[in-house]
């Protein structure tokens, strides 16, 4: 029995991958990424004494903007656009420190450092005044739910067609592969959108999470993100023969998104070697968009980077996955011309396919 089990495992590469790869992944993640303490934050210093204050700041503050001519409104714009995590407004006593509360762990670390300055600094936390975890988590969880529906549920839906043989039936029907794919993913797109609305509204009602931005911008970001994760679902279905394989494979995509997208552990606190993985994950960018729009009221222009990355990912992933799915769906159709189709090596003539 033991020998049989090992023999089976040897041919089940996904399970072996899960057994070997997952512990390694978890070790790396928890070793290098599981860190709630942010050791450095991006800072802006504005106002008449900007240069003096900037030079006096401890190394914790990575000062990227020093603008003596700018004031509090400009500082708030920088925070809203997520250009910096903290903005110090000089020209008043004490100095006003505006902290971006939507970046929870950076804000907690910043407040802790600022408190050491005593009366010299007044701290004001924007966008999440109570540094509530739920305010930051709910926008990210919306993305997680969309990921779940997009990858796991969609891939299962497609693989079930393969398992039961109905995909083969669809393949020979007079229906374009693109129509099959569109017909399969549209219901999941709509259901995920409905889920997104429900979760967002419930989050606002139950946890008082604010919605400060434009709902249409949020919907645009969610739609782009959904296209990416639906594309991942279609891709997973093309490399899986059974529902079990699809779930296993989706798990490989889902776990890094949960742990490395900045949803739980702040990206700024991760080792550089692990952080870049986070920047490859779509949930990272959706979280930037959802937190930015819901908490900071950021605009599409201020969030151009995550919007652009998600748009590129949507085009690349969905196109690639669809092409793979088409190839699986209609291998024989590529050579079909009219009523008769021939192998490429056979001589092509008008008579070759004529009915006899």
């Amino acid at each position: 029995m033991i020998l049989k089990e090992f023999r089976e495992l040897r041919r089940d590469r996904r399970t072996v991958g899960l057994l070997v790869g997952m512990p390694l992944l978890l070790l790396v993640i928890f070793g290098y990424a599981a860190n709630f303490y942010v050791s450095s934050v991006k800072a802006a210093v504005v106002g008449p004494q900007a240069e003096q204050v900037a030079s006096a700041l401890p190394s914790f503050f990575d000062v990227t903007v020093v603008e003596p001519t700018q004031g509090q409104a400009d500082a708030e714009s920088l925070l809203q656009a997520n250009t910096v995590d903290v903005a110090l407004v000089t020209g008043q006593q004490p100095v006003l420190a505006l902290v971006d509360g939507s970046n929870l762990f950076a804000a907690q670390s910043t407040v802790s450092v600022l408190n050491k300055a005593g009366d010299q600094v007044t701290t004001q936390i924007l966008y999440n005044p109570d540094l509530s975890t739920s305010w930051v988590m709910i926008p990210a969880i919306i993305g997680l739910i969309l990921t779940f529906i997009g990858t796991i549920v969609t891939s299962i839906g497609l693989v079930k067609e393969r398992e039961t043989g109905t995909l083969e039936q669809l393949a020979v029907m007079p229906i374009r592969p693109s129509t099959v794919i569109l017909g399969k993913i549209t219901p999941y797109f709509l259901l995920a959108s409905l889920d997104m609305v429900i979760i967002t509204v419930l989050g606002m009602l139950l946890f008082d999470v604010p919605f400060n931005g434009n709902p249409f911008a949020f919907a645009l970001g969610a739609a782009l993100f959904l296209l990416v994760v639906l594309g991942l679902g279609v891709f997973i279905s093309t490399i899986s023969q059974t529902t079990g394989q699809a779930i296993q494979t989706a798990f490989f995509f889902l776990l890094p998104q949960i742990l490395l997208s900045g949803m739980i552990f702040p990206l700024d606190a991760m080792a550089a070697g692990v952080r870049w993985i986070g920047y490859l994950l779509p949930l990272t960018y959706f979280t930037m968009i959802s937190q930015g729009i819901m908490l900071r009221g950021a605009t599409v222009a201020e969030l151009w980077l995550p919007f652009t990355v998600l748009a590129v990912m949507a085009v690349v992933v969905l196109t690639g996955a669809t092409l793979r799915f088409r190839r699986d769906l209609a291998p024989g159709r590529r050579r079909r011309h009219g009523h008769a189709h021939e192998a490429s090596s056979a001589p092509v003539s008008d008579e070759a396919g004529a009915s006899r």
Partner: protein
């Protein structure tokens, strides 16, 4: 107008699974493809419907909207009801909504599925599900009806029902090709193709295939060459070496099963795997 394959070969994973097969199916007739597991029956049918690409040869088939196909798998959506399955396929094939009710009603009645029309496909018996698959394949009155082992795993009564449906489709003018492992079914077809490891061992009307067989088969309680024998009831049948006298007392008139087994044994001796 006939449909079929001409000198068709299919290679999958570097292995030839269909080797130089030619097959014609005339409208109003039934062609049976027989052979053991791995003979290439499903590949032949899938090549015919465009599901598998040929490496050589050509396929002559009507356009996809004039083909009906029942795959070897369930062939229906488990969570949809019997009626919803038929309606979905009819919609894809462009059956006019005004005609759908009458066609569906007639098909389900012939398939004895009327009483089950509101039940999910997952909750009907295996035989009923195959008849549902047939009804879905035939709902648009296709010119070419391709059925991959429609009766495998089906009880004897449902097999009779299925064959009635098949012959009715042919009588209505469809060119029907089906694969089967049941040789008694194959004998009912107008023509048959015997496949083994992707190659045609014999083809034509059943009588022609039987007449063309040149071997001598004997009934024996103990085989002289066990590797050339097979069990038939309580006895064994054995294929004698070429040149053996055909007028022996223990010689039998080979039926289709004897011929198919004997040809397969010969083929495997000539071309080992």
């Amino acid at each position: 107008m006939t449909f079929g394959l001409a000198s068709a070969s299919v290679e999958l994973g570097g292995r030839t699974v269909l080797d130089d097969v030619t097959l014609r199916i005339a409208p109003g007739s039934v062609v049976a493809v027989v052979g053991g597991d791995g003979a290439g029956k499903s590949t032949l049918l899938r090549a015919l419907v465009g599901e598998v690409a040929l490496s050589r040869g050509s396929v002559d088939a009507p356009p996809p909207d004039r083909i009906g196909y029942l795959p070897a798998s369930a062939g229906s959506w488990a969570a949809l009801t019997v009626q919803q399955n038929v309606d979905f396929v009819a919609g894809v094939y462009g059956v006019p909504p005004g005609e759908l009710g009458a066609r569906r009603g007639a098909l389900l009645e012939r398939a004895a599925l009327t009483s089950a029309s509101d039940r999910p496909a997952s909750q009907v018996s295996g035989g009923m599900r195959r008849k549902l698959g047939f009804s879905m394949a035939a709902v648009h009155a296709p010119q070419l009806l391709v059925l991959d082992e429609p009766s495998t795993g089906v009880d004897p009564v449902s097999r009779i029902d299925l064959w009635r449906l098949v012959t009715q489709a042919a009588a209505a003018g469809a060119a029907v090709v089906l694969s089967t492992t049941y040789l008694d079914e194959a004998e009912r077809a107008a023509s048959l193709v015997v496949l083994d490891r992707g190659r045609v061992l014999a083809q034509g009307p059943v009588d022609d295939v039987l007449d063309a067989f040149d071997g001598v088969v004997v009934r024996t309680p103990v085989a002289q060459r066990p590797e050339w024998s097979w069990r038939r009831g309580r006895d064994l049948h054995e294929l004698l070496p070429p040149g053996a006298a055909a007028d022996r007392a223990d010689a039998v008139v080979p039926d289709l099963e004897d011929v198919v087994v004997a040809l397969s044994l010969r083929s495997r001796a000539e071309v080992p795997a």
